[in-house]
């Protein structure tokens, strides 16, 4: 019995700010910054966008691509670390914005950038158990970085929705493996406007340990080797980390490159790895195996293996915007416009 991804939908806000524009404001050398992070520009949400609106757009596209009745979706999860409300779910707004039935399991999940992919695990579980026909997870963020701090060069906005089911599966789930530990690499306390992170702590003990731990654990437990995969997609906090993780696992460059989006839109947090996954699904061929490993600070990774089915070709022809389409469709803003759009200028209420 096949269970897996029935459809995917991605949304990248139209606005971009160039790394050199941010560097100009804070007195950094733009060439050095681009060299360190390999991020040329990042996406910026419009003034009337937030993690909710981004989730709705991505989810609507996933439903359009699937061509299913939204009332058949029995579970909806939103993974984010930029909720507009501290208390009030995104997932219930999705229920009414998408026209789902009221008989739906719904919750927002938080685990830094991993929450959206944890929603995928939960949705797959419910579908496998026969509890729901379709389940949906959305990774959505308008991620924050303190102005002038290095996180600002990558923290960006975007969303990806995945519909899981057993009917019309475009990418069948073969295996999933998790790797989690208490690692204080990145956090944001209640009420803090920006996250804190341990410089030099985000790499080895956090990103690499958990990504490699999940990917290696999966390969050992289920008997995969790097040559089994046509595409490999990792979480992308910058352009360097996923490339290095690939080389640590002896995965050749050409398998990782098609799923890299951080260079053009920055780190969309909960949508980061999923955006790379969506970009790969836009072009994948039946029979391709995809290794997907999102990561969330705090810290943890889930490694997934999917096998693309014949259905993918149908899904690729639906006219829903591809990730590549959205990478090209952009309007540049300057730093002042960026602050306004991100609601970072202090105004009276």
């Amino acid at each position: 019995m096949k269970v897996g991804i029935v459809s995917w939908g991605a949304y990248i806000p139209k606005y971009r700010i160039r790394t050199e524009e941010v560097a100009r404001i804070w007195g950094d050398d733009p060439l050095r910054i681009v060299d360190v992070y390999l991020v040329d520009e990042k996406s910026v949400e419009g003034i009337d966008e937030d993690a909710v609106t981004i989730a709705v757009e991505a989810a609507r596209r996933a439903i359009r691509r699937a061509g299913i009745d939204p009332k058949k979706i029995g579970a909806v999860y939103a993974g984010t670390e930029s909720k507009p409300y501290a208390v009030k779910p995104i997932s219930s707004i999705l229920v009414d914005a998408l026209g789902l039935s009221n008989n739906v399991f719904a919750v927002d999940m938080e685990f830094a950038c991993k929450a959206g992919s944890e929603g995928l695990v939960a949705a797959i579980g419910l579908v496998k158990a026969g509890q729901v026909e379709y389940g949906m997870t959305v990774g959505t963020d308008t991620s924050q970085g303190e102005p002038g701090e290095h996180l600002e060069y990558s923290a960006s906005s975007g969303g990806v929705a995945l519909i899981v089911g057993r009917d019309g599966v475009a990418a069948e789930l073969e295996a999933v493996y998790s790797y989690v530990s208490d690692t204080p690499d990145f956090w944001r306390r209640e009420g803090s406007p920006y996250p804190m992170h341990g410089e030099g702590f985000t790499g080895e003990p956090a990103y690499f340990r958990h990504i490699i731990g999940a990917a290696k654990g999966l390969m050992e437990k289920y008997g995969y080797k790097p040559s089994d995969f046509a595409y490999v997609v990792f979480h992308q906090p910058n352009g360097r980390f996923p490339v290095r993780a690939a080389s640590m696992l002896n995965i050749p460059m050409e398998k990782i490159k098609p799923g890299i989006v951080v260079t053009h839109i920055g780190n969309t947090y909960n949508a980061s790895a999923l955006m790379g996954f969506a970009k790969v699904l836009d072009v994948a061929k039946p029979g391709d195996k995809i290794l997907l490993v999102p990561f969330g600070s705090g810290a943890g990774s889930n490694a997934f293996v999917f096998t693309v089915t014949d259905v993918v070709q149908e899904r690729q022809k639906t006219g829903v915007p591809t990730v590549e389409d959205m990478l090209r469709d952009k309007i540049y803003v300057d730093y002042a416009q960026y602050l306004k759009m991100r609601k970072m200028i202090k105004l009276f209420d």
Binding site: K14, G46, I47, D48, E49, D50, V52, T53, V56, E57, R60, P84, Y85, I93, D96, A97, G99, I331, K340, L347, D349
Partner: protein, 133 residues
């Protein structure tokens, strides 16, 4: 400006989120915003979710705007003819005004409309944005 109350917003969610109109069961007329009585006199109305794409009939750029939108000037507002012929007025977002023209293809998007101060409700609803411009 006084915001719409929470109960009124809540009652209007189908209209704001998904463009749910009313269709007259007697004469077939479609009403958006929804009405409780058709112009033919009938009160027998059913829900109809409007299509999510259409074309721009006309638009204007507002430099004088209501209090809620003062920090979003200029505001582009357009009349959109949806693919089933129903016409809806709404804000046009993500548009480069110099590229905008009647006939432009637009799609319905879901956006923040107003937030009731720093602590109150964020109210969401439909807007339009150009496709392929």
């Amino acid at each position: 400006m006084k915001h719409e109350s929470v109960p009124i917003y809540w009652r209007n969610i189908p209209q704001y989120y998904r463009l749910v109109a009313k269709r007259c069961k007697k004469c077939g007329a479609v009403h958006f915003p929804p009405v409780v009585r058709c112009r033919c006199g009938s009160k027998e109305l059913e829900d109809l979710e409007l299509p999510k794409e259409g074309k721009l009939v006309e638009f204007t750029v507002l430099h004088q705007v209501g209090t809620d939108f003062l920090k979003q000037k200029p505001l582009v507002v357009g009349l959109v003819e949806l693919s089933n012929g129903v016409r809806v007025v709404g804000q046009i977002v993500d548009a480069q005004v110099e590229k905008l023209a009647p006939g432009a293809k637009v799609e319905v998007v879901f956006r923040r409309v107003v937030a009731d101060g720093k602590h109150g409700l964020v109210m969401y609803g439909y807007k339009f944005r150009p496709v392929g411009l």
